[in-house]
Symmetry: C2
């Protein structure tokens, strides 16, 4: 099945900064019948620190289990990363764990790194055991070079229609540092695929606990603030590596004000990658920013925003360019969160559809219809007098989504 | 928009038993542009007891607010019921409450019942104020007769493709009693409609607290065990009325063993109506029974069953007749419920797809494909060694669902 490029794709792949000390190799293990790279191997310099956030799906997968255990054993040390597309190695039991380990051993032997220092990610079909022999056979053809980000992002795609990258440059205490990241996927939208992966690199010399704190916090408003179909996958993982080549003064605390610019730059990269994933949502024709404010807390606002963002009725209405605010109100109402019905308002861009618990007195159908024809929409829902606020990105639900996900094996 | 009758519709409307003392009138207020009845008015004899279960959607609606308050004020007394289709009178503020009350007053004046003894239900577009003058104008044409269940069930339909009824006859302590019920809707699947309503009647002389206890308990495994799109509506309501014409010995406790047969019959009627609603799921071509067992508790099993039943990836796979068990496993995994990965199994009918945390060794693609072609499917997911079990009914997610819900206003 071929996938035409998403109408919401960025015009071009961005120029990403080089991360000193980082090397990558692209290869083909043959997990796909057609010719395409499906292996990405990266090597980092000694002293690289790493942190990860992983899917909370209880089924999980061999590579996410591996990463969690490896990061814990090395206290956030890492020298390499092996990613394959085409097989998720999820729900494959102890045999899957063993296959994952053998694949990593073959990669480590090839690039001269200890097995305990490599991290792993797999994406593809769930329930199929990783054929690690294919990976071992591909190794001799893999040669490390400075990273070509476009090629690296392309090698980890499954049914993505465009490679995803984002980067930034900022200063930590007067020292210039770089950030570059790639991602793949779109929720668990791809047929039987699993799915969202992101790898972000910086040359800044930062400790593993600081990386972990920043990654966790900034994932909340980026990767944890997007939804395509609500189907959280078994293999989701975001890894952040710091090669340490840009020598910044020792910083002990993630909340050190000297990290403010870095944190903001990292946040921007993560959010950019996350939104690109929604832009590549299967069948998506609209990118929608859902803002909920006036809630009892930020957490409550996020639950409401997510309920709206995942409602099939809201998403199909958006596909039909219908400003169906009644469905948005109903979705907010079923989120089991505190809300003041008489203060509820719904805005599309600057246009009020509902205000103070009723249809807006200045509701303008023509202006609303014109707004709904845009590719990118913003829906703001005020649910009460509180200070809680959240932003979520979602896409519409089209016939093409059903087609892609229903007709996969036929 | 016309709706072809669901391929899953029952062959015919059932013969329902008469409920002594019950009368009904069908009318047309004109909430629809085309000619169709949109009003159902029912009168019950003095001494009728009633109980209701209502949507937990925080937005709610004027009629559900009315019912809750009326049932509380009368301690479960009721003499009449007014239902309209075409306008949900939800999210209409105090003006909606006043309109609801005026509509009920006009109905009560017409049939000689106190306003505080009538219950109300509305279904249709959210956010539009009920035009109660239309209802008042229709009253003179409404004349009460013994109930024609087919006509009654037809008058409350919105985008339903067939009227839904179910009945039973059983004994309480040697006395024959009857149960008859009607329902409309399909989750919140109808375009901007709101939505699931059911009204069940018995001639048994039972107290309001007993009715309430039975209705609440049996709704759990019927109306609370179905899902089409997860969009719980603002107007959902199930009302149970007991006219008391069949004089049974006084029973004080809902758990009295003399009620066992009645409870079972009631449960059957509620479940039958609930499943008919799924059969009329917008665009549905498959009725799916999802069974989860081995869970930590029944409640946990229900959450897992619901997560599977509402997963767009699972539902689109079923539409495509694809036994995509990896998606079922992933949905179970993201339900945030305790499960033993190494004990997980997935069965389609009697065919194992996954067993003991891996693909089943005897997985037979040809047999599986043949099974998936059926109209009615059963999926059993074992998640561990526990005693928790739940059953949920759902349907597939087809392009037709997107079409109906996306193209509504165009």
């Amino acid at each position: 099945m071929t996938h035409p490029i998403s109408p919401l794709a960025p015009a071009r792949f961005p120029d990403l900064p080089a991360i000193a000390g980082l090397e990558a190799a692209i290869g083909r293990a043959g997990f796909y019948k057609h010719e395409r790279p499906d292996l990405l191997l990266m090597r980092m310099p000694e002293g690289t620190r790493a942190a990860g956030v992983f899917t909370t799906n209880a089924v999980g997968s061999a590579p996410t289990d591996w990463c969690k255990q490896a990061l814990s054993a090395t206290r956030g040390g890492a020298r390499a990363l092996l990613v394959n597309a085409g097989c998720a190695n999820s729900f494959t039991g102890p045999a899957g764990d063993a296959a994952c380990k053998r694949a990593l051993e073959s990669a480590c032997a090839h690039i001269g790194v200890e097995t305990r220092e490599i991290l792993a990610a797999s994406t593809g079909v769930i329930g199929v055991l990783l054929d690690d022999a294919k990976i071992a056979r591909a190794m001799p053809d893999l040669s490390l070079h400075p990273v070509n980000w476009f090629d690296a992002a392309s090698a980890i795609m499954t049914t993505d229609t465009f490679p995803k990258g984002s980067g930034a440059t900022c200063e930590i205490d007067g020292v210039t540092v770089n950030i570059a990241g790639i991602a793949k996927g779109s929720g668990m939208i791809a047929p039987n695929m699993a799915t969202m992966l992101a790898f972000v690199f910086t040359d800044a010399a930062l400790s593993a606990p600081i990386l972990k704190t920043l990654l966790k916090a900034e994932s909340e408003t980026s990767f944890n603030a997007i939804t395509v179909d609500g189907d959280r996958s078994t293999n989701d993982c975001v890894l952040l590596f710091a090669t340490g080549q840009a020598k910044v003064p020792p910083i002990a605390d993630a909340h050190d004000p000297r990290l403010a610019a870095f944190r903001e730059a990292l946040s921007g990269v993560l959010r950019d990658l996350a939104i690109q994933i929604v832009r590549d949502g299967e069948g998506a024709t609209k990118l929608v920013r859902v803002i909920v404010d006036g809630a009892a807390s930020d957490a409550s606002a996020k639950i409401i925003a997510r309920t709206i963002s995942e409602s099939p009725l809201v998403k199909t209405a958006i596909a039909g360019e219908d400003a169906n605010w009644g469905r948005i109100v109903a979705a907010a109402g079923r989120s089991d969160q505190p809300l003041k019905r008489e203060m509820l308002s719904v805005r599309f861009g600057d246009l009020y559809a509902a205000r103070d618990g009723m249809v807006s007195p200045d509701y303008d159908e023509a202006a609303m219809s014109a707004y709904m024809k845009r590719d990118e929409l913003e829906i703001t829902v005020t649910v009460g007098p509180g200070a809680g606020r959240a932003v979520m990105w979602t896409c519409d639900l089209t016939k093409r989504y059903v087609e892609i996900n229903g007709d996969y094996r036929s």
